[in-house]
């Protein structure tokens, strides 16, 4: 009985979070203003963090906030401020129907893939998911999946170096 109540609450929370994610996503995409779009993105990221909480992965949820909200979006913010992008720029203007169709397709495609994956191979569901300890998580990264983990960090380093190089290049052009 109690589990059932819990589950009802969980569903409510799930839909609430999904709503936050979706609204945030729409704000991100439809907003004319880059900073507002960023705020939408942050909203989405918070929603995702909430989903992680629901899945009893508070560590990952907090990491999501710490890294994506606290660091990545701040950096995006910085990038927006550094580049002079404003509503009169090349991004604005009327959108052709073709563009809307393509955008819709681009949005639906991953959704279909993920949805099919979820339907065809549903992950095991628990009424109350277990919380995995941080230590186990760490061991997971550093023992079983060490290569992908390190490759990701390499990728990030390369991306960072590339950004710096690009920035210098742009500066030199001026």
């Amino acid at each position: 009985m109690e589990n059932l109540e819990y589950e009802r609450l969980a569903w409510a929370l799930l839909y609430g979070h999904i709503a936050i994610i979706v609204i945030g996503g729409f704000i991100t995409v439809l907003s004319q203003n880059l900073v507002r779009a960023l705020v939408g993105l942050i909203m989405t990221l918070f929603g995702v963090a909430g989903l992680f909480f629901l899945m009893a992965a508070p560590f990952i949820a907090l990491m999501q906030i710490l890294i994506y909200v606290g660091a990545v979006s701040v950096l995006i913010f910085f990038a927006i401020m550094l580049t002079s992008a404003w509503p009169g720029g090349d991004e604005s203007g009327t959108i052709s129907v073709r563009k809307i169709i393509f955008a819709g397709l681009a949005a639906i495609a991953p959704a279909i893939f993920l949805g099919m994956a979820a339907i065809l191979k549903p992950p095991p569901s628990f009424l109350i998911p277990d919380e995995i300890e941080v230590g186990i998580l760490g061991r997971f990264f550093l023992e079983d999946f060490i290569l992908p983990f390190e490759l990701i960090s390499l990728l990030l380093t390369v991306a960072m170096a590339g950004a710096v190089v690009l920035a210098f290049e742009m500066r030199r052009k001026k």
Partner: protein, 327 residues
């Protein structure tokens, strides 16, 4: 339906209310303290006569301040992004309140005891940076914009040594649980982590000053350069929110320092809650003392301190810690 709500939610809800009261109370005390300490350092009495004579030493000053701020007209500058402009102070204050939920104020005074308490605080304090730059950007003011840019570079830079230092402590204790960290230290000062990690303590304290935008690192709001930086355009409660948030983050930072390095609620004789409060307020007093003593550093110096000194030292500290643990 009410019984359907788990008790934990009720605890959190009540706790949130308590935390808000605590934050408000702290702000009142800190406003008074800051003014009085500043007065003491300046060799003047500070606020002295507010209200009827039955309230000596200007003890009503924070209330008068609060009343003034509440009574002020809310003013949105022309050209400002009004939604983001008013969202920013709220984004600033809300995470500060969340942070208090996981802080163990005493052996039995903690709202939620979670294994990831430290991460939660680090994550939510990071949001403040975002709030400040939103404020600076949305107010459509050049000073605000520069203040926001400064805030980002400062906040992001100082987060790195801060995290590294926290990591060294976490490696020592093997947990993110704030209660366990505090509990792991003994009652007597020589059992506190400050004696095992003195360098970490200093680095953390400097970073905490920088993260809370306190003098000498108050560059985002450096009033002689940027009038008031990111909150130039805010009046009344908008400003008050940033003000409250600054004090709240100061208290959070002091709490974390007390827990990580000064044994948290541990202490001889007196009950834990009082020890914790005493430690937090000593740290806050030191912060206030520093504010009224030092000039402001320059922006490039600020970043140099971080990148050239604090980060290498923090890494070194981490490596030493690891080596000691491994041995």
């Amino acid at each position: 339906m009410i019984e359907a709500i788990p008790t934990q939610f009720i605890i959190i809800f009540v706790g949130l209310l308590a935390v808000m009261a605590f934050v408000g109370l702290n702000a009142i005390v800190l406003v008074y303290l800051e003014r009085k300490v500043a007065g003491f350092i300046h060799r003047r009495p500070g606020p002295y006569e507010v209200g009827p004579p039955c309230f000596p030493h200007g003890i009503l000053q924070p209330f008068a301040d609060g009343l003034k701020l509440v009574g002020k007209q809310l003013f949105t500058p022309r050209g400002a992004d009004s939604i983001l402009f008013w969202l920013a102070p709220m984004i600033s204050i809300a995470p500060a309140i969340v942070c208090f939920i996981v802080i163990p104020f005493g052996p039995h005074l903690q709202i939620v005891n979670t294994n990831v308490g430290l991460v939660l605080i680090l994550a939510f304090t990071g949001i403040n940076v975002l709030a400040l730059c939103l404020a600076g950007w949305a107010s459509q003011n050049k000073y605000g914009l520069i203040g926001a840019a400064r805030d980002i570079s400062q906040g992001v830079a100082y987060e790195i040594p801060l995290l590294l230092v926290v990591l060294s402590v976490v490696f020592m204790t093997g947990t993110f649980n704030l209660f366990d960290i505090a509990d792991g230290q003994g009652a007597w000062p020589w059992q506190w982590y400050i004696f095992y990690q003195p360098l970490a303590f200093i680095i953390f304290f400097i970073c905490a000053l920088a993260e809370t935008n306190r003098n000498p690192f108050d560059l985002p709001e450096a009033e002689s350069e940027l009038t008031a930086g990111f909150h130039t355009e805010y009046s009344g409660m908008g400003f008050a929110c940033f003000f409250l948030a600054e004090y709240a983050y100061m208290v959070v930072a002091s709490c974390i320092i007390a827990i990580l390095f000064l044994g948290g609620f541990q202490g001889p004789v007196l009950p834990g809650g009082w020890w914790f409060l005493a430690k937090v307020y000593v740290l806050l007093l030191i912060m206030i003392w520093i504010r009224w003593t030092f000039p402001r550093v320059r922006f490039d110096q600020l970043l140099n301190i971080c990148w050239k000194w604090l980060i290498p030292l923090a890494v070194l500290n981490l490596l030493i810690t690891l080596a000691v643990i491994a041995i």
